[in-house]
């Protein structure tokens, strides 16, 4: 089966969108690239399928794996000609993680991000926060027991997008997707 001729048709494009949206993130495989807001667009251009993705962090090594996975899964579904494009602007924000994505992260024991610092970014006219004293931010809720009595143990974790926390109520450590 090849869909190269007809990949401009609405039905094929809808099928391609569905396949692309279901590609798991290689580092957070419980969520898809659509859940994370990494998948920007699926479109047909001159009979070719063009998928646009965006990196979360500049050095994120997962982007290459995602591009490969997109080509492979779409190829298996009959889309022979697939171009994967990178879009840098606007820069990815943790605010783009969907409600479904947040639910899946929490179910896997990873605290989803709080609202992002969009209004504090210098690009939007405000000062960049610098923590000189104890933070007064909204607490991160424990994804296991829901307690808001949690402590950050490290600002960075096993991947660029996460920080490490500990719940003071159930005493379990957990990861938290950072706000950017």
């Amino acid at each position: 089966m090849t869909r190269t001729e007809g990949s401009g048709s609405g039905a094929d494009l809808a099928a391609a969108r569905e396949i692309a949206a279901a590609v798991p993130d290689p580092e957070l495989p419980m969520v898809t690239v659509a859940d994370l807001g990494i998948l920007r667009d699926v479109a047909a251009e001159d009979g070719r399928l063009v998928v646009t993705i965006t990196p979360t962090y500049s050095g994120c090594p997962a982007l290459r794996e995602i591009a490969h996975d997109l080509r492979r899964r779409l190829g298996q579904a009959g889309f022979a000609e697939v171009t994967v494009r990178t879009a840098l602007a606007p820069a990815w924000s943790s605010d783009w993680i969907t409600a479904a994505g947040r639910r899946k992260l929490r179910a896997a024991g990873i605290a989803p991000p709080r609202p992002g610092p969009a209004n504090q970014s210098p690009a939007r006219g405000g000062p960049v926060p610098l923590t000189l004293t104890a933070s007064r931010r909204e607490p991160v809720a424990c994804p296991r027991c829901g307690s808001r009595d949690t402590t950050q143990t490290a600002a960075f974790a096993a991947t660029a997008c996460k920080a490490l926390f500990r719940c003071e109520t159930c005493r379990e450590p957990f990861e938290h997707v950072k706000e950017i």
Partner: protein
């Protein structure tokens, strides 16, 4: 581990191909699919050199941070600095790729150098990084002090570049701003903890800042490349006030004296931006480039 979680990790190994998780060299172009044409009225050669300057700052500093791996006091600092080094390496890759695209039409064969050629096959005098990023940190205090200064300066610089007339540079900067905000905060918290800590940690933190300070002035010096890129590049001198205010706030919270060491002299009027580097840089570059030069074209 619940069944769902197990299934999620299981999906990683399904239909595994050889190149999955294979990281090394020979990556695909980090700017693949991005319109990298140089806007009308922008000096393409100056833009390429400017991207090399900012890319080299990140590449070389990332390498120095990577050299700290396995030597840090706690596992949490290992992951923090590995992530910071990775962010900077990502910024370097995009900036070097941007430089290669911008220079392409001006080269004899019409094709620009790729990120590997620029990182591994240029010689010492062709690198444009500031000298601040070249030295091996003497201790953890010096690491945090240098990181605070570097990330405060780069954050101020990238904040301005989000309005650059080159849309590719503006997009790279907008991503970097988010990352550098975390880097600066991490470094500031350590400088405060060490400075406002015991007499021993306070003394070491003060000595570290005094040791790094001679290389700070260079960050704010004008250069001919930046001067030729009005509306594209950010004037280094204009960053001095903002960076100084941030550093003063951290030094005050850390009960540290503002360092007053005199700037390191330029060499015959030249410094890092002109390709004139410190002795430490030659050793660093030899290590960084050794594998790629011993096995040209190899991927691993």
């Amino acid at each position: 581990m619940t069944e769902d979680e197990f299934a999620a990790y299981q999906s990683l190994s399904e239909e595994t191909e050889d190149h999955r998780w294979a990281f090394g060299t020979g990556f695909t172009d980090p700017l693949e699919g991005i319109d990298a044409s140089v806007p009308d009225g922008v000096d393409a050669v100056a833009l390429a050199t400017y991207c090399l300057m900012l890319g080299d700052d990140a590449l070389i500093y990332s390498h120095r941070l990577q050299q700290w791996m396995t030597r840090l006091p706690e596992l949490e600092e290992e992951t923090a600095l590995a992530n910071i080094a990775l962010d900077l390496l990502g910024q370097a890759r995009m900036l070097l790729a941007r430089a290669g695209r911008a220079e392409a039409p001006r080269r004899p064969d019409g094709s620009g150098r790729d990120e590997d050629e620029l990182a591994f096959f240029r010689d010492e005098h062709e690198f444009r990084n500031v000298r601040l990023v070249e030295a091996l940190d003497a201790d953890f205090a010096e690491l945090t002090g240098r990181l605070l200064i570097f990330s405060s300066w780069r954050l101020a610089l990238f904040s301005r570049l989000t309005d650059s007339a080159d849309p590719v540079l503006a997009a790279i900067a907008a991503k970097g701003v988010k990352e550098l905000t975390y880097h600066r905060d991490y470094a500031a918290q350590w400088v405060i903890r060490l400075g406002d800590g015991t007499p021993l940690s306070h003394g070491k933190m003060q000595a570290a800042l005094d040791a790094v300070w001679p290389l700070v002035d260079e960050l704010f010096e004008a250069d001919s490349v930046t001067a030729a890129l009005s509306g594209v590049a950010a004037d280094p001198a204009a960053l001095r006030g903002e960076v100084g205010a941030v550093l003063d706030a951290v030094f005050d919270a850390a009960t540290l004296d503002h360092p007053g060491a005199a700037p390191m002299a330029r060499v015959a009027g030249k410094s890092g931006r002109d390709g004139v580097h410190t002795e430490a840089f030659g050793y660093l570059l030899a290590e960084l480039q050794s594998v790629a030069r011993a096995h040209p074209g190899a991927t691993w």
